[in-house]
Symmetry: C2
Subunit: 305 residues, 2 copies
């Protein structure tokens, strides 16, 4: 039977001032998935990794995403899925989105690309709903489209891929657990109008900065006065990381997704490497285990291997 192997990238949602609307794809890490079209109806999932994720389709984010796609097919095909997860679940780097988006992109390829990218985002959102309780697309969209994407609206879905200049991304993942549901619950339902104005001034500046390759403007706009002050208290060392990385020349950054990973955007590779060293130093001195690395923006999204 027809089979395809894909790579599905890590993504950063809630990109600083772009809470719930702005996401970015990374070149590392990437999940690997092998999806095979089968005459036997149904979905069979196998996980070739250490994470012990559920393999019952209805309880697996890739499974539910694929079930959404299958609903719109008029045939009885089934799928065999082998997932090799490299994006650690719970890292804040879009692990569930990579599974959900990866499987529907792979299935669509096997079916002769009958669905649009927007359709695929719609299917994959079912996986996000399973993972976090909320349909959101700011991991899935950059995962599928690559680069930076704006999700102006979910209902109706309105995805705008944004050009952005090359950037290096230093990431540190302190090994603590932050549940997406907890990270959502601590947010206030109301915010000050004056803070909201600051935030929409910043996201407007960030979009303009990305589109004009204006690193200075990008840097000035990378400020989140609403979500970060609340959520960062869940992440030990956050303020120190941010302050020291900015002093070392990072453009700016913040919490990846709902955490606990922290990312910093940099114009130059050597700055990103310095920034990673700073991150290491801080978590070494706190005595908290962590994983850190430097990567770049992924402009391709999910790729067929």
């Amino acid at each position: 039977m027809k089979s395809v192997k894909i790579k599905s990238p890590a993504t950063i949602a809630n990109l600083v001032c772009g809470f719930d609307v702005l996401g970015m794809a990374l070149n590392d890490p990437q999940d690997v998935m092998q999806v095979t079209l089968s005459k036997e109806p149904g979905i069979r999932i196998q996980h070739n990794d250490i994470y012990n994720l559920p393999v019952i389709p209805e309880k697996n984010v890739a499974g539910v995403a694929l079930l959404e796609l299958i609903k719109e097919l008029d045939n009885e095909n089934g799928f065999d899925i082998v997932i090799e997860k490299h994006i650690k679940p719970g890292s804040g780097l879009g692990s569930s989105a990579a599974s959900a988006a990866g499987v529907v992109v792979a299935a669509n390829h096997l079916l002769g690309n009958i669905f649009s990218k927007e359709d695929l985002v719609r299917f994959a959102m079912a996986g996000e709903k399973l993972a976090s309780g909320v349909k959101h697309a700011d991991n899935i969209s950059p995962c599928i489209y690559g680069g930076v994407t704006l999700i102006r609206s979910i209902f109706p879905l309105d995805i705008i891929p944004l050009p952005a200049p090359p950037m290096y991304v230093a990431v540190v993942h302190p090994q603590i657990e932050v549940k997406t549901s907890d990270a959502r619950e601590i947010l206030r339902k109301e915010v000050l109008l004056k803070d909201a104005i600051k935030q929409w001034g910043n996201i407007a500046g960030l979009v303009a900065g990305f589109m004009q390759n204006d690193y200075g403007l990008i840097s000035r706009s990378l400020e989140d006065v609403i979500i970060e002050p609340v959520r960062s208290i869940l992440i030990p060392g956050f303020d120190e990381v941010k302050k020291k990385c900015a002093a070392a020349g990072a453009l700016g950054g913040g919490i990846a997704g709902s955490g606990p990973s922290i990312f910093m955007l940099c114009k130059e590779e050597n700055v990103a490497k310095d920034v990673e060293l700073i991150m290491k130093g801080i978590y070494d001195s706190i005595g908290l285990a962590y994983h850190s690395y430097v990567t770049t923006i992924n402009n391709k999204g999910i790729t067929i291997v």
Copy 2:
């Protein structure tokens, strides 16, 4: 003595989802000002119009703006100002900004352009403070820079001129009074986070739409879920104008500044003319006096005549 005549355009601040941060300059109407450098220190203001505005410099928006500029001079020059106002005060179309920005641009020209545009915005904001009690720059910036400008931040001042495709602007000014201070007071100090998210998704979409000449995206993004629902109750006929103009093909629009003028952006001139007719029809049937017209985006800002 040296003298200069300038034209200073009307502007629309609070551009739909860009409350407090996004403004646009119009080709009509424009104030005309004659500014003359004098050896006699001090400022003398004459108003050649029907609006009976104060001529004491400390009480005149152009006067206080120019006083700010003079503070930074190391000579004893004075200025004679003749203002011919065509932008009706209280229309929501940046009448005070046109005076404040116009006079400092003219003075700077007479002084050999010793100040930057950003300096001029800073001086002119003193006029806005006098007029509305609050320093804001979303009328002054497009007035000076032309086109559409983003004011990402006031302290420190960060102005980003944004490219935008050609558009026609239909404007109706119902002849009622909406005080800027009242329009500010009725706003809630807190807003729902979910509305704020919608708003920053929209402004991000609007900026991307402007920069990519994507009229469809511009149209979808021209939505204000925070300010307009509150302020529009001060403007009779607002909902009907908006609904019928959208149905006639306008891209979208809203309240100009803090009102009471309403504007609608259109891609085609004939649509803008239809939209103006709709506006006329609505205020004729309400029985409220109004002034309406169609103009275009002014990309030059203040010009030397």
